[in-house]
């Protein structure tokens, strides 16, 4: 019987590692494809500054690849883990950890490609501001990595927390649910933050005098966009660290799995929506100085309301965890 479990654990580790690496690489590849397309246009428009453009692309890509290197680390940890001392729960831990990191790297990969592409266009438009645009691009794509960092934290917690002594029956569902909540929850925020950083680069390239307030509002918008990913991390932490009593029926397992799925999927839409809002606000703040205060206020209110469906998902998951 122990051999049997070891075989299944190995299968789970390979599937988990494959998912982590595959999803992670796809996200980064889409982002880089966007960057390359934008850089194509930029070089076609002014070939004489192609050196600057290549430099920007290189720096942007180096930062943007952080998320997929996280996925690589998790995949390697899973593939070369110690298979000697395993239990039934290890199967779901490995699956969930790989899934969480893979899904979490998609959003950040796509998101951090967007500002890099826009920075190439911006440098062509305003070559004198190239240092400033590069700085904003790097800051934007570094902050857009934070949902992937949340997913990394969840995967590492899953791998290193001691689950011995927990009953198998509801705990396996809690573990897989935690992976879904943190991984899927990171997609929306990653893409949304990428959109905000993109319009930050665009705004500075169009209106160099507005650089300061554009930067400040961009950082504010990105911080608010990140909240849905934080909700995903919150549900994941609760699912991992709360010890559930043993239950024979399949219903309680499904409740925990449903809680994770609910929060994960429910965070995608609000994340992207908040990104749209902040993108538009940053764009217009860079164009009209007089309306900065009104625009910041409406941006915060609009983002808060767009987030409310994500909060309903949070409520349903909390009910599924604590009440049922």
């Amino acid at each position: 019987m122990t051999d049997d479990i070891q075989v299944w654990v190995k299968v789970a580790a390979f599937i988990g590692g494959g998912m982590a690496m595959g999803f992670g690489a796809i996200g980064a590849a889409i982002g880089e494809g966007y960057t390359a397309a934008k850089a194509n246009e930029a070089i076609a428009r002014s070939p004489q500054i192609s050196g600057d453009l290549f430099k920007t692309m290189l720096l942007g890509q180096a930062i943007a690849e952080t998320a997929s290197i996280f996925a690589l680390i998790i995949a390697m940890l899973l593939l070369f883990a110690d298979f000697s001392n395993v239990s039934t729960l290890t199967i779901s831990i490995f699956l969930s950890s790989g899934l969480c990191m893979g899904l979490g790297a998609i959003g950040s990969g796509i998101g951090s490609g967007l500002p890099t592409g826009e920075a190439c266009t911006g440098i062509v438009r305003q070559p004198g501001m190239k240092n400033r645009i590069t700085t904003i691009m790097l800051a934007g794509s570094a902050i857009a990595q934070s949902p992937a960092i949340f997913a990394l934290v969840t995967s590492l917690i899953l791998l290193f927390v001691d689950f011995t002594g927990r009953p198998v029956s509801p705990t396996w569902a809690a573990i897989i649910g935690a992976g879904f909540a943190s991984g899927l929850g990171a997609i929306g925020s990653g893409i949304g933050e990428g959109l905000v950083a993109k319009s930050g680069c665009e705004g500075i390239a169009r209106q160099p005098l507005a650089a300061t307030r554009t930067t400040n509002v961009m950082l504010l918008g990105m911080a608010v966009t990140e909240t849905t990913a934080i909700y995903g991390l919150l549900i994941a932490c609760i699912l991992i660290f709360k010890s559930f009593p043993a239950a024979e029926s399949i219903a309680s397992s499904m409740a925990l799995l449903g809680a994770g799925l609910c929060m994960g999927i429910g965070a995608i839409g609000p994340g992207i929506g908040e990104g749209f809002t902040a993108q538009s606000a940053v764009k217009w703040i860079s164009r009209s100085e007089s309306s900065t205060a009104q625009l910041t206020r409406s941006m915060l209110v609009g983002q808060a309301v767009a987030e409310s469906t994500g909060i309903y998902a949070l409520v349903i998951s909390l009910v599924l965890i604590f009440v049922i």
């Binding site: 690496m21 690489a25 796809i26 980064a28 590849a29 889409i30 880089e32 494809g33 966007y34 390359a36 397309a37 850089a39 194509n40 070089i43 050196g51 600057d52 290549f54 430099k55 692309m57 290189l58 720096l59 890509q61 180096a62 930062i63 690849e65 952080t66 997929s68 290197i69 690589l72 680390i73 390697m76 940890l77 070369f80 305003q126 070559p127 004198g128 501001m129 240092n131 400033r132 590069t134 700085t135 790097l138 800051a139 570094a142 160099p208 005098l209 650089a211 300061t212 930067t215 400040n216």
Partner: protein, 144 residues
């Protein structure tokens, strides 16, 4: 291409210098695996960065979808290289896994730190969080 080489030279030299210094300090404190892991990770991080720069111009001049497929292949091939230090550090006790992971992000850390330091200390561009100096920005605009 010259521009890329210059950037690479700058960041890679800072990264490897820092890694070697930190490694020596760890050696002196008797934490050999951490120092070794840091240097190993940094070397592979630099190789990855250089390969990234070399494959960059090949992506120009093709369509967006093909660029996506091309980047996917390039990522997979480069990450096969990055997997080597990770596997080594997982399998061998000589290299600390955490330090290796830190080393893998050394180039990125150097880029970010360099940008931030430039923003605040090494140049006059202190206006990230303050009001821009009007005459200076105007001069910039005139130049273009």
């Amino acid at each position: 291409m010259e521009e890329i080489r210059k950037v690479q030279k700058r960041y890679c030299s800072i990264a490897i210098t820092f890694a070697i210094f930190a490694g020596i300090i760890f050696f002196l404190f008797g934490l050999k695996p951490i120092g070794k892991g840091l240097i190993l990770g940094t070397i592979f991080s630099i190789i990855n960065f250089i390969l990234m720069g070399e494959t960059l111009p090949l992506k120009i001049g093709i369509s967006r979808n093909r660029a996506g497929v091309y980047s996917f292949l390039s990522i997979l091939s480069r990450y096969a290289l990055l997997a080597i230090p990770l596997v080594l550090s997982i399998k061998l006790a000589r290299f600390n896994i955490g330090a290796t992971v830190c080393g893998l992000f050394m180039v990125q850390l150097v880029i970010l730190t360099d940008e931030i330091l430039h923003q605040f200390y090494f140049s006059n561009r202190k206006d990230l969080f303050f009001k821009p100096k009007k005459n200076r920005t105007k001069k910039l605009l005139w130049k273009n």
